[in-house]
Amino acid sequence: MTGRTRENLNTNYLNYVKTQDPPTKHLKNCAAAFGVGGLICCIGQFIRYMLQYAGLTGDELAGSTSVILIFLGCLLTGLGVYDRIGRYAGAGSIVPITGFANSVTSPAIEFKTEGWIYGMAAKMFTVAGAIIVFGVFSGVLVGLIYLFV
């Protein structure tokens, strides 16, 4: 017999929710993530070959490839296609750079109604801001370590 304390109610409720959840389809999930993630990387490889063919090299080649992929990610998010891919592919659509583009564009469009400055512009960085904060900080650390070691 469990007492009706708040904690018990909470754990009881969470256990109840777990029994009602559809079971996670691990295999299907993982196959979709692998396939879609791999496919996006192949598209990236294709863009890379095309730009190489157009005469780009080095940093310009790598940078332009990401810019085109980010453009595609933003466009598909705007069209509402990327969310549909995401529902099917899970991490396969989150982890590639197009997922980064999605995480910037999606709140930008969604919070437009709250105004351009506090809505669109500020909310744009809800996820990307965290990536940039930790990225820049760890990047500076790596730079300093390589400078002094």
């Binding site: 993630g37 496919l39 192949c42 933003c74 583009a101 990225g135």
Partner: protein, 127 residues
């Protein structure tokens, strides 16, 4: 000629396997923990930075090409690589190198997201 086509095909295969593999790892982590998409992105980016700093990510990029640079860990690779290259030129570039290298990606994301926000309206999520 045939050898060239074979090499290109093999490169696609490697990009697919490695890129898909990185996404697979993320999916397994999502399945067995309750990490959200944002946290996965940050952790994978940090993993890219760390692996690049210890010299393990560069071989993966040489092997898999876009398969290693397209996932968000490739963004971390870009940041760390910029910092490492900057460190060779002195203190100032060691500090600024990482964001300089990432400027293309960040600029593209901001500009394109802005344009999309101008064009598209928020739609009700359909399930």
């Amino acid at each position: 000629m045939e050898a060239e086509i074979l090499a290109i095909f093999l490169q696609y295969l490697k990009a697919f396997a490695v890129g898909g593999g990185i996404c697979l790892i993320a999916q397994i982590i999502i399945n067995f923990t309750d990490l959200t998409a944002g946290k996965i992105l940050v952790y994978f980016m940090l993993a890219g930075v760390v692996l690049t700093a210890v010299g393990l990510y560069q071989p993966l990029v040489d092997f898999a090409g876009a398969g290693a640079t397209v996932p968000i860990s490739g963004f971390g690779y870009l940041l760390a690589n910029g910092a490492i290259k900057g460190a060779e030129r002195g203190f100032f570039y060691a500090i600024t190198g990482s964001l300089t290298a990432a400027s293309a990606g960040v600029t593209a994301a901001v500009v394109f997201a802005f344009i999309m926000a101008l064009i598209f309206k928020s739609r009700t999520k359909r399930n």
